[in-house]
Symmetry: C2
Subunit: 347 residues, 2 copies
DNA sequence: GACGCCACTTGGATCGATCAAGGGGGCGGG
DNA sequence: CCCGCCCCCTTGATCGATCCAAGTGGCGTC
C-alpha cells in the first residue's frame, strides 16, 4: 500500500508552543512570560496584556511535565478506587468521587485513580509516592485494621482521610468524617415527632465501630425522649436478606411501628418483609435507611434516608489537603460534618 | 513558641533517590541504570542483577515528571467525570470506571478524572491536551449532538469512545460499544422461552438512537417468533414515574404478561404498578430491565436485567488506546460486544 | 547630577530522566 | 602483531519550565 506512505500534510506531530515561542512572538523574555503566568503582579499592565494576548493566540499552556519536574509537584491527588463491591455503599462512594473531582479542580488539582488489590494494600500508594506521581492521597476506607493510614503516616506522605481513625488512638493524621450518630439521631427524632414510640434499630455487627456509632444515635435519642429500647435492637450482616429476617423477628416479638437502619441495604430488607406481609411502608410501618442511595430514591415507595453531605466532605478534604501541601499549620486534626435527612414516603 | 523552631530530625524533605544515585552506588553509569529499567536485554546478566539489587536497596522508582518531560508522554488517560445525575445509569458508569482503572493499570496507565461543565463541554479536554497532561482520552457520553468526539477528532487528539457515533456518519474515530439490541433480543427470547407471547416494550422517546436500537431487538425477536407487537409498545421519559404510568396503560389496554424495558429505571416503574395492583412480579407478570444496576440486585424481588460486559468494554478500550498511542495501524474502527442476561426472580 | 526604584532582560543552572552518539576492551581473522 | 568488530557500557546534550543573580534603561526625587 503506497497510500499508507503518504505524506501527512496535517498529520505532523504538531508540537505545542513553548514558553520560548510565546516570548519571542510577544517580544519579551521567557522570564516575563513565566511571570505573566505565575506572578502577573510583577508586570506592567500593558505588557501583561500583550503577553496574555500572545498566549491566547498561540494557545499556549505550560507543559505539565516540565513544570512538575521543576517545581516537584504534580497537582495530582491519588485516590484508590477499590473494586466495586456490589452493594449500596458504592453509590455513596461515587457521589463522593464526583464531589472530590470538582472540589479539586477549583484548587488546581486533578484526581488520579489507581486500583488496589487486597493482598498488597499499600503497593499502589508506594509506587505513586516513590515516583512522585502524586502530591497527596485521599484515603477513604479507614475500616478496622486498614494499614493504609498508618503506613502513609509512617512514610510521611501527605494525605487526608475520609473517615475517623476509629481504632487507632495514636493516629495523628488529618481526617474528615460525617457524624453518623447525629444522622441516626435525626432520623429517630423525626420518627418520634411523627408519633412513633416503638422504634426498632437494625444495625451491623458489634465489631463495626461505625455501626456502633450510628446505633448510639438511636439509643441516646430514644432515652432522651424517655422511650424504651429493650428488645428493639438487632445486629446483623449488611445484606438485604439479613435485614428482612431481622425485621420479621422484631415485628413478631416486639411489635415496633418504625425501623431505623444502619444502611439502605438493611432498609431494603425491611421493605421486603413489609411487602410480604402486605404492610404499607409509611402508612403501616415507617422505615428509615442510611446513605440516600439510588435505591432509596427510585424505590416505588421512596425511602427516607440519612444523607451524608459528601459535597461538603470533599470541600473539607481538599481544604485540608491544600493546608498540608502548603505547609500551613494544621488547625483542626479532624472535621466532623452533620448529615441531613432526606424524607420520603416511607416515614 | 521556641518549640516550633525545633530541628526536624526526621522531617527532612527526604528526596527520593535518583537514577544518578543508583548509578553511583552500583558503580555504573546513569544510562546503564536506565537500560536496566527500560531495556534489560542490553545488559550483561550479572550487571543487570547488581543494578536491580541496588534499585531495590534504595527503593528507587523513576521520577514520573522527568520521564514524562523527556518522552513526551504522561501515561495518563483522561476521563471526564460528569456531574452525577441521580439515576440508575450512574451505577453502570461506576462499574465502567472501575474496570477502566484496572485495565489501564495493566497497560501501564493511570486514569485522570476531570470535571466537565455543560456550558463549555470541551474546556476540560482542551486544557489537558494543550498542557500535555494526558496521553489520550476516553469519551463516554456520545449522545446526540455531543461535540466532544468531533472536537477531539479535529484536534487530532487520541481518544476512544465508549458508545457508537450514532448520529455522525463522518466519524472516523475508534469506538467500543455494547450491542443493546442483542441484549434486548436476548431478554425477549428468554421471556418467549418461558411461554410468554404478549410481551410489551417500554422504551425511551423516539429521538434516542440508543433507545430505538434496543427497541429493534424486541421488535425483531417478536417477529422472528411470529408474535404480534401491535399495541404493545410505549415510549416515555426515562423516569420511574413514567414507567409506572406506561405499565398501567399497557396492562389496561393490551393485557401483556411480560414487560421488557429500556432501563432499570423504567422497570422499577413497572414493578411499582404491579405492586399497587397486587400483582406478583415473576409469578403473575414478568419484568426485565436494562443495566443490571444495584437496584436490580437488591430489590426485594430480584429484577432480571440485561448486563453490559463493562469489564470487557474497558479492556477493549484500553487495547484500542494502546494501538492508537503506539501508532499501530487501526484494525477495527469499532468493536461491538454482546451483553448477557442476569436472570432473577422477576421473570 | 546622583540616587533609587521599577519593569523588565540576560544568561545560566537546574529538576531527573532519555536519546544519540561515542568509547574501550576482548576476541577472532589476516 | 595489527585491524576490525561486536558487545557493553559511558558521555554529553536535551526535553520545557522555573529559580536565581546580576544587569540595564528610563523616570522621578532630592
Amino acid at each position: 500500500m503506497a497510500r499508507s506512505e503518504q505524506r501527512n500534510g496535517n498529520h505532523l506531530p504538531v508540537t505545542p508552543p513553548t514558553l520560548a515561542d510565546v516570548a519571542e512572538r510577544a517580544g519579551v523574555s521567557r522570564q516575563t512570560v513565566s511571570n505573566a503566568v505565575n506572578n502577573p503582579d510583577l508586570l506592567r499592565p500593558d505588557t501583561l496584556e500583550r503577553v496574555r494576548q500572545t498566549i491566547a493566540e498561540l494557545g499556549y499552556s505550560p507543559n505539565r511535565a516540565a513544570r512538575n519536574l521543576r517545581t516537584r509537584t504534580s497537582q495530582l491527588i491519588g485516590l484508590r478506587f477499590a473494586p466495586a463491591q456490589e452493594g449500596t455503599a458504592n453509590a455513596a462512594m461515587d457521589r463522593f468521587v464526583h464531589s472530590l473531582v470538582e472540589a479539586s479542580e477549583v484548587a488546581g488539582y486533578h484526581v488520579l485513580l489507581f486500583p488496589g488489590d487486597d493482598e498488597d494494600p499499600v503497593g499502589g500508594y508506594d509506587n505513586l509516592l516513590r515516583s512522585t506521581a502524586v502530591d497527596a492521597f485521599v484515603v477513604t476506607d479507614t475500616y478496622l485494621g486498614n494499614p493504609q493510614a498508618a503506613w502513609l503516616s509512617q512514610q510521611r506522605a501527605p494525605f487526608v482521610a475520609f473517615g475517623r481513625p476509629w481504632d487507632d488512638d495514636e493516629a495523628r493524621h488529618v481526617w474528615v468524617d460525617v457524624d453518623g450518630a447525629a444522622g441516626i439521631a435525626l432520623a429517630t427524632q423525626h420518627l418520634i415527632d411523627r408519633g412513633h414510640t416503638r422504634i426498632a434499630w437494625i444495625g451491623w455487627r458489634k465489631d463495626s465501630p461505625i455501626g456502633e456509632d450510628r446505633r448510639s444515635g438511636w439509643l441516646r435519642t430514644m432515652h432522651a425522649n424517655g422511650l424504651s429500647t429493650t428488645g428493639l435492637a438487632s445486629r446483623v450482616e449488611d445484606v438485604v436478606h439479613s435485614g428482612a429476617e431481622a425485621a420479621a423477628v422484631l415485628l413478631d416479638e416486639s411489635t415496633p411501628t418504625a425501623f431505623v437502619c444502619a444502611s439502605d441495604t438493611l432498609a431494603m430488607g425491611v421493605l421486603h418483609t413489609l411487602w410480604i406481609r402486605q404492610l404499607a411502608p409509611g402508612r403501616d410501618i415507617a422505615v428509615v435507611g442510611f446513605d440516600d442511595s439510588q435505591v432509596a430514591q427510585v424505590f416505588p415507595v421512596g425511602l427516607t434516608s440519612v444523607r451524608q453531605p459528601l459535597e461538603d466532605v470533599a470541600v473539607e478534604v481538599v481544604k485540608a489537603l491544600r493546608a498540608l501541601l502548603t505547609h500551613q499549620p494544621v488547625e483542626e486534626r479532624g472535621v466532623l460534618l452533620e448529615p441531613t435527612l432526606a424524607i420520603r414516603e416511607s416515614s
